[in-house]
Each structure stands twice: as structure tokens, then as C-alpha cells.
């Protein structure tokens, strides 16, 4: 999830506020070759009637609208409803439909459950396949060569880098998304959340919990109201 306080001014920094090109000052990041290429391709496709600027803008907006909140909602429901959890693990597509979530035809989804004996972590070594419909766009680190190369061979080392330390009695299970299945981790519900509402539970399910590189944590003073 993006925390605006941590916005990094990287050459890939997003310019999400409306900003006509003429107003960019000389200190702005220079336009790279790939950015030039994107504009060239897009403008040609629009001129030839293959795409419209409207549908491109709508597709951009759709991606912007996706966030891990949807995945967190699914996890929270699974935590409070044991029968739903079973259905989610058995057939994730059908269970998501119950919540009004249609994952479409691009890929199948599969839910893998963390238990006291097994900790799951997701990677795509061959490219960067990711359950975008439930989690939004993947973080840069998920797409990095470092994560893609090391998670399969040194998952405990990678998890330690993320601050997740697992006992020797916990087996680590890595899932490499090599085909048309997208995986989401169902983390264990922390014991200290007894009696919480679904909204309160969803608030502690972060994106990284559903990738497997974090565990849900209970803040020392739980929110009394839903986060949103």
C-alpha cells in the first residue's frame, strides 16, 4: 500500500496531479527514450483507430483504483467465516464471486493458507505474475531480479530481510506463479483480534501479508472504528 509520506522522488515518480506538459520546468526529470516510445506508440494507435485515448485513460483509472483493500476484505471474511474460508481454499474463483468479485478470464486465482506448520510465500521467477485484481499493482521489489531470483532458493533469507523470522518447526512453501494461476496467501489470524469486526480485521491485512513477506500485526491500540 502506498504511504504518501514515503513518496520517493525516483525517476519513476508518478505525476498523478494534473500537469499540462508545458508547465514542466527545466529541472524536471528529462524524458527518457522509453517514455518517448510510449507516446509515439500510443499516438499512432489512436490515429489508426486501434485504441482511443478514452479507453486508455479508463484502463489507467481502473488500475489506479485497484488496491490491496479488496484482498484484505476477502481475508477478513475468511477469518470470521470458517465455511467461507473452506470454500475460498477449495475454489477461489467461486468464493470471490460470492463477494461480488469477478476475476474475469485472464487467470485463475488460488488461495494458500498459512498454518502453524506452513508459511507460504509467492513469487514469479519468470516474469512478475501477480493477483492484481485483489492486490493492485505489484511493488517494484516483487518485480525485481533480486526477489525473483532469491526467493525460490533462499526463502528464509528473503523473509528475514522483510523482518519475518520463522521458527525451525515452520516449513516454508514457495509458490512460483509460472502459469495462469495467481496466488494469494491467507495469513493466520492473530489471536489478539478476538471479537474484532471484519473492517477492523481487514485493516491489519497488508499487501505484503498476502504475498507472504509479512505477518499481520496487531497495533498496541487497535482502532475502535473501521479504517475507512
Amino acid at each position: 500500500m502506498h504511504d504518501d509520506d514515503d513518496h520517493h522522488h525516483h525517476h519513476h515518480a508518478g505525476h498523478d496531479h494534473p500537469h499540462p506538459p508545458a508547465q514542466k520546468d527545466h529541472d524536471a526529470a528529462p524524458m527518457g527514450a522509453y517514455e518517448v516510445l510510449e507516446e509515439a506508440v500510443r499516438s499512432l494507435l489512436i490515429e489508426k483507430g486501434i485504441l482511443t485515448s478514452g479507453e486508455i485513460a479508463a484502463a489507467v483509472d481502473l488500475m489506479d483504483s485497484r488496491s490491496p483493500a479488496l484482498g484484505a476484505k476477502v481475508v477478513a471474511r475468511a477469518w470470521v467465516d470458517a465455511a467461507f474460508k473452506k470454500r475460498l481454499i477449495k475454489d477461489t474463483r467461486a468464493a470471490l464471486l460470492e463477494l461480488g468479485i469477478d476475476i474475469g478470464t485472464i487467470a485463475e486465482f488460488s488461495t494458500v493458507e498459512n498454518t502453524p506448520q506452513v508459511h507460504n510465500v509467492i513469487v514469479c521467477t519468470l516474469c512478475s505474475c501477480y493477483p492484481k485484481m485483489l492486490l493492485g499493482i505489484p511493488p517494484a521489489w516483487y518485480k525485481s531480479l533480486a526477489y525473483r531470483s532469491r526467493t525460490v532458493v533462499d526463502p528464509r533469507g528473503v523473509l528475514a530481510e522483510f523482518g519475518v523470522e520463522l521458527g525451525r518447526e515452520v516449513a516454508v512453501r514457495v509458490h512460483d506463479s509460472t502459469a495462469d494461476l495467481r496466488y494469494i496467501v491467507l495469513p493466520m489470524r492473530p489471536k489478539a483480534t478476538r471479537g474484532w469486526s471484519e473492517d477492523q480485521l481487514a485493516a491489519i491485512v497488508t499487501r505484503d501479508c498476502m504475498i507472504g513477506t509479512a505477518l499481520p500485526t496487531v497495533p498496541s491500540r487497535p482502532a475502535r472504528r473501521a479504517a475507512r
Binding site: K90, R93, E108, L126, P155, R173, H175, D176, T178, L181
Partner: protein, 104 residues
């Protein structure tokens, strides 16, 4: 678990629990079987259903006949010669039927 989208175009060759291995052969072009499991032994964890073949889809072909896709579980100790952590650690990879052989 069978994919809701995949009915089988032909009966799956393997079922959950079957011991399989990935042949140690080179890929010709686009391939979704990672290098690190080539020649390694595993167990079928699940049968996902039939999917169009990415090796053909990548070259503007329809990807038919659809191939059965399996979730195959490998012990990390079998995959990496010097895996030191966690004897019970596993890695699961989704592999298409042409890339699996029965273990003798």
C-alpha cells in the same frame, strides 16, 4: 483442485500424489518450466485443469490442444544441492503435462 475454467480436453496423465520428474531437456523458444526444476523429482500436489499452451500462444498460434496443468511440489533439498534451511521446506511450481514424466 480443478480450475473452474478448465474442463479437460483429454484425461489427465497424472493425479495428486503421483511421483513425477521434469525432464532435463532444453526448451525450444518460450517455455514456462523454470530452469531450476529441470531434471528434478517432485510430487503432483493438484491438477489445475486444461489451459491453452503458452509455448504456442507466444507465436500467434491458438495454443490447442489445451494442456493439463499441474501443481507440482518439490522438496527444496531435491532442487538445490546446498539447501541448508528447513528440511520440510518445499517449492511448488505450476507445470504443463508435456514437461512431466512419471518417476520410475
Amino acid at each position: 483442485m480443478v480450475s473452474a475454467a478448465g474442463s479437460f480436453s483429454r484425461p489427465p496423465r497424472f493425479k495428486p500424489g503421483d511421483r513425477v520428474s521434469v525432464p532435463a531437456r532444453a526448451a525450444l523458444g518460450h517455455c514456462r518450466t523454470p530452469w531450476y526444476v529441470r531434471g528434478k523429482p517432485g510430487v503432483v500436489a493438484a491438477v489445475h485443469g486444461s489451459f491453452r499452451d503458452p509455448e504456442r500462444l507466444a507465436y500467434h498460434r491458438p495454443g490447442l490442444p489445451a494442456q493439463v496443468l499441474y501443481k507440482v511440489r518439490f522438496r527444496q533439498l531435491d532442487v538445490w544441492p546446498s539447501y541448508l534451511a528447513g528440511q520440510a521446506d518445499h517449492i511448488e511450481v505450476d507445470i504443463y503435462e508435456p514437461w512431466l514424466e512419471p518417476q520410475p
